[in-house]
């Protein structure tokens, strides 16, 4: 066997596209409204909080110190949240079903596909969907007059990077889950991240200790990254935000691949 020459051969057969093709084919038989609906959630939040609450809040201090409208302040944060939610939903609930009920991965791994093929394929699909939502949301921002610089378009690839970070971890973590009740805990971890990551108001509200804790969480880096991109105001911190996700992706992919190997290639 040439496994001895290529150390990755047991994990990866360079055929993630087969997993992707299967996923796209399966999408056709899904309820397309469910897929489209994922786009509406952040838009509704933007309309309600940005427009409704925005009239009460007035303007707030943007990342570059200039005052911006409340809608412009929360829009990039909502995009980051939606990247997280989409990636986590796809890589936990969907994967949980396929793993435990449909036994999809088991079937795939009986073929020449390796666990890395499966992980890459599934995550690519989740990111494709995420990219569609991000494009739609950015277009809505444009229609509402919240885009002031062409650099803001970089929010789309950046939110894909954010989604990649969450998706690569989500699948690995899901492989530990055995019951629905355990899955509930995932929501329970995401809620405080959503509420406290400087999404709706600046981090300075909190005492120093809590600020540090929130700054250690991934969503805060995502929110800050997109917020900086939205007004084209970059600092050395931008590199840290981006680097956080690159490390997260690498560690998450490693975890997921090892878990799939442990579960299925005994």
């Amino acid at each position: 066997m040439d496994g001895s020459k290529k150390p990755l051969a047991a994990l990866y057969s360079r055929n993630a596209k087969a997993v992707i093709a299967r996923g796209l084919l399966a999408t056709r038989s899904n309820n397309w409204l469910v897929i489209v609906s994922g786009f509406f959630e952040p838009v509704l939040y933007l309309l309600s909080m940005g427009v409704g609450l925005g009239t009460l809040v007035g303007s707030v201090e943007g990342p570059d110190g200039q005052p911006i409208s409340y809608a412009a302040y929360i829009a990039p944060a909502l995009l980051a949240v939606s990247a997280m939610n989409g990636a986590v939903y796809d890589s936990t609930w969907n994967v949980f079903f396929r793993m435990n009920f449909a036994k999809l991965y088991q079937g795939m791994l009986y073929t020449s596909l390796g666990p890395l093929d499966v992980a890459l394929g599934e995550i690519f699909l989740a990111l494709l969907r995420g990219a569609l939502y991000a494009t739609g949301f950015t277009a809505v921002m444009g229609l509402m007059g919240l885009l002031t610089t062409p650099v803001a378009l970089l929010m789309v690839p950046a939110s894909v990077v954010i989604a990649f970070g969450f998706a690569s971890f989500g699948m690995g973590i899901t492989s530990f889950m055995k019951t629905f009740q355990q899955m509930e805990w995932i929501n329970f971890v995401m809620l405080p991240m959503f509420l406290f990551s400087a999404t709706f108001y600046p981090l300075t509200v909190y005492p120093q200790g809590i600020q540090w804790f929130i700054q250690a969480l991934p969503l805060w880096h995502g929110v800050e990254l997109l917020r900086q991109i939205s007004v084209a105001s970059f600092t050395p911190a931008t590199v840290i935000h981006l680097g956080y996700f690159l490390v997260m992706i690498a560690v998450g992919m490693l975890l997921t691949t090892l878990r799939l190997r442990k579960l299925f290639l005994k």
């Binding site: 309820n31 469910v34 709706f200």
Partner: protein, 290 residues
């Protein structure tokens, strides 16, 4: 039965356990009389299996929302618009809305997937249906159990609201039954719909996205309904959340509310709940009768 029956074996090895079963006709009579309660007990005992998750979420979620919105977001809102909220802080303004919306969201979860579970996945309705229980008793039992669940979590939520100092008036306690009523006003029509769904094609996810979520965001939850443009205000008028929240605000901090309008709010909620229950009974009878 011979001597080698399990009961016989048990008698030799340990204390004798005897089932004190009633005669079938006695059981049947009791089931007819108390069937709703029996079914409710069954649902509540099943919930007991994940009580820790329930407890953690019903305590953790309100603490997080009240802190994030009522303390964090309030720093931005209170700065320049205190007058909009009738002189009370933003925390006091949103607390009754968060209370009612939490109850409605719980109701939305409890009256969808578990209902489908009863008909399709684990088919838990069909066993009781084969017993002397009537379909109405199954419906009432299920509703009763969910009402107990909603009341319990709403009480916990209210205690946390009170601990945040966000219910200055003693009458605020009455926001609990109002929230539960709002939950039923939203949940019972949804139950009737859920019972009519034959195949899971993501309908419930759509209900959450296109009904529950917009109601949460556009029912005067985070800002007075009058802040919205008029062409969006109708969302509040048809929303059980808005009616429940307006009542809650009158009770917790005394937002002015004329008696006729309070009556309209209560009537709206009662009519929705009663209508939903009626409809649910009809759909259950049809579907279980198949």
């Amino acid at each position: 039965m011979t001597d080698s029956s399990p009961a016989g074996v048990q008698q030799g090895t340990g204390p004798a356990y005897r089932l004190h079963a009633h005669a079938p006709e006695v059981s049947a009579r009791r089931a007819r009389a108390f069937g709703s309660w029996y079914y409710a007990e069954h649902v509540l005992r099943a919930m007991n299996g994940y009580k820790w998750t329930l407890l953690a979420t019903s305590v953790g979620t309100p603490v997080m929302y009240l802190f994030a919105m009522g303390v964090g977001l309030a720093t931005l809102v209170d700065r320049n618009s205190g007058s909009v909220f009738g002189g009370v802080s933003y925390l006091v303004f949103i607390a009754p809305a968060l209370l009612a919306s939490a109850t409605i969201m719980t109701a939305a979860t409890e009256f969808t997937y578990p209902v489908m579970d009863g008909f399709k996945w684990r088919r838990v309705y069909y066993g009781p249906h084969a017993s002397p229980l009537g379909t109405d008793q199954i419906v009432h039992g299920h509703v009763l159990a969910i009402t107990v669940r909603l009341t319990a979590t709403t009480i916990v939520y209210f205690l946390i609201v009170a601990a945040f100092g966000a219910s200055p008036q003693p009458a605020g306690v009455l926001a609990v039954p109002v929230a539960v009523l709002s939950g039923l006003a939203f949940g019972l029509p949804l139950m009737a719909y859920a019972a009519s769904v034959e195949d899971d094609k993501g309908q419930f996810a759509l209900v959450m996205r296109f009904i529950v979520m917009p109601l949460f965001l556009f029912s005067g939850t985070f800002f007075p309904l009058s802040t919205l443009p008029v062409f969006l205000q109708w969302i509040g008028w048809i929303s059980p959340l808005w009616h429940g929240t307006e009542l809650g605000r009158a009770l917790t901090y005394g937002q002015p509310l004329p008696a006729w309008l309070a009556t309209v709010h209560v009537l709206f909620l009662v009519v929705l709940a009663a209508g939903g229950l009626r409809l649910a009974r009809r759909v259950y009878a049809r579907r279980l009768g198949k």
